[in-house]
Symmetry: C2
Subunit: 404 residues, 2 copies
């Protein structure tokens, strides 16, 4: 049985999305900027896709949604253009973010530090989130931007975006959120929060890899990252990727239709899987209170078992999982979120992330439970660290933000 | 009959390219950065695509080819990162480019001027190209970069890249070329020229819109434009767009296979079309010596006829053409290259670009000749400027770099 449970890394393109895109490759292929019928033929489909995305996040008519090539581009765009607009050409010098952002935010912040920008990396609590009140004391009158993710890619933990947005509004500071792990998975209502910029990525909600977007509140000014032929009102140049725009719109529509029902169905499977693993396998714990997580994610730690060993065994059983962000997985590093919430280095190497999708089935859950348990048994039998420490009493120990 | 002759704006995805991409949407969909089988399943196809692109431009093993979302991104990347690396963090302050670059170069240069960079815009000769010797006197010891396109999008004129590269090497200045209109259309051999950076775009050679690449000679240093998860050796972050990478590789292979034969076939049709239009319709001329153009392009001026009027009539006959770059076409501006080579504003509004592809047929050429002539006849009958000046003697007048 093939079981893909790495949907926070990327998702399968929904076959309905694929079918919607294909006509825009070799049939309706004109450049939408061209004035002739081959160019304008794609306009209705592009308009429809834009509408689908506005609707999916409940953006206002006065807001902009600009297509980019990925959320990495969206994140780089906001951070670097705020640097240019407000720091190089303004009187600000400071950006606030968190320790657990995606690498595209953290690496860009490191780059900006090399340019002389001061960056504050907010610590997270034992749940792996930033509490809104923490932010307040770090904003100064030199702060240009606060950038805090909506939901974490490794734990699924949902950040208090509404509260953070209120603080930013109160203090007159721009607020960006990386919404990649929230959009299409949990309710995202841009008219109910105060967010200036939000990054999105289609391939996290069964759209194609290679397209994202940036939501911009009230069409406010932000220098382009890509200058050029004045596409999309001059905000992001580059020939429009029509097939993927159509695909992102369709994917958004499908993901957000009956979202509550999808969430319930996903959470039921995720909870059953999590409960089973925690109850069957001693000395395991999961990170983050379940009710505050996206409904598809489990980050589970298995004492004495290296995450990479688990990945290997699971992979041999045709199960796709991960030890953390795919964007950092080539390095075999310790799980950064687990380190941030206070796990020691050894423990942070024991994290395994299982992330479901709306295509996950109960049969897959059963299959994962069976093979996960087998893998733990095998690996603990040969584990020097587990043999040395030995099983702890009472099974799943209560440390490091454990919840089950 | 549907006749698409706007292939310098964008091309149809070759059905063979489309078919190569589709399996990577909903079947082999893992994130290539993931360690499990769903991630690694795409590696052979990505490697193959990279090989196809190296082969298509004869890049050396020590060179890098990095995928981007489009040539606009590639152009922005080179110009902005050279600004950061050599000007903000170096002792240079000057960039040299030309008056006739693509908007993604020109707009980025305008942005850099706002940042205090000095930019020289080299003038073009009556052929619409920069002569290599012109460059020499404009390079100073403060020059960080020379950026000159390989072939012009509006005229098809091929620039003396080999000679310009030699001058840059001699003077120790980085050399970037926007190769968008050359790659896949004429021989591009990176080992035969001295080019540090070359931008490419798949959708100009029957690949998909939304993917490009940057060639980097000798894997030399260039700060990333997109920081993040260290994809592609840390040079350009963002989850790999596997379907389009596969498509770009396949498109490159198909475009460069038997390139000479494809060029001959395209040039034969283009020449027949051009000869017919020039001989049948009085007071027309084309820009640029034919032997020095890409084999698919005609920029023709019809005295007394507004380009937009021609587009309208051609569009009614199901013919797709343009007045210039699709990246600027929403503005209905005068043709910038014609202005640069000295045409007055009225004349620069009379340019029509016809750009063929390897899918263009002799029947399409016949059809365009017939309807082009009809459109000119109709529009001249109602043209105030043509009526006022009247037809000139001898037909196609010799001004403004005319060649036929």
């Amino acid at each position: 049985m093939n079981v893909y449970m790495d949907n926070n890394a990327t998702t399968m393109v929904d076959p309905l999305v694929r079918d919607a895109m294909i006509p825009f490759l070799s049939e309706i292929y004109g450049n939408p900027n061209s004035l002739h019928r081959y160019g304008t033929a794609s306009h209705p489909a592009i308009s429809k896709a834009i509408d689908q995305i506005y609707k999916g996040i409940n953006a206002g008519d006065e807001d902009d949604i600009i297509f980019t090539s990925c959320a990495t581009e969206s994140n780089n765009w906001v951070l670097k253009s705020v640097w240019i607009d407000k720091i190089l050409h303004g009187d600000k010098n400071h950006i606030v973010t968190t320790e657990v952002e995606h690498p595209s935010v953290l690496s860009t912040c490191k780059f900006l530090e090399e340019q002389g920008v001061k960056v504050t990396y907010l610590p997270v609590n034992d749940q792996g989130i930033v509490e809104a009140h923490t932010l307040r004391s770090f904003i100064t009158d030199k702060t240009a931007l606060v950038s805090v993710m909506w939901a974490n890619n490794e734990t699924g933990m949902i950040f208090p975006i509404k509260e953070i947005g209120e603080i930013c509004r109160e203090r007159g500071v721009l607020f960006h959120t990386d919404g990649v792990q929230a959009v299409g998975k949990i309710p995202v209502d841009m008219q109910a929060v105060h967010v200036d910029f939000m990054s999105m990525s289609a391939h996290k909600f069964h759209g194609p890899k290679g397209i994202g977007a940036l939501y911009i509140k009230g069409s406010q000014k932000l220098s382009p990252l890509l200058h050029g032929g004045e596409h999309m009102g001059g905000r992001r140049s580059g020939t429009l990727n029509v097939p993927y725009i159509v695909g992102m719109g369709k994917a958004m529509e499908l993901a957000t239709q009956d979202l509550e029902a999808k969430m319930d169905s996903m959470a039921a499977k995720r909870n059953r899987l999590e409960d089973a693993l925690l109850s069957i396998i001693p000395d395991t714990f999961t990170v983050g209170e379940r009710a505050r997580r996206t409904p598809n994610t489990i980050l589970i730690s298995i004492r004495g078992v290296e995450g990479e060993g688990m990945l290997w065994d699971l992979n041999n059983a045709q199960i796709g999982a991960s030890t953390g962000s795919a964007c950092a997985s080539e390095d075999l590093e310790a799980n950064t979120v687990m380190l941030a919430i206070g796990a020691d280095h050894e423990l942070a190497h024991t994290g395994i992330r299982l992330s479901l999708s709306r295509f996950s089935t109960d049969e897959e859950v059963d299959y994962v439970i069976e093979h996960f348990q087998k893998a733990v048994t095998r690996l603990r039998a040969i584990s020097s660290s587990y043999a040395k420490v030995g099983p702890t009493k009472g099974g799943e120990a209560a440390e490091c933000g454990i919840h089950h």
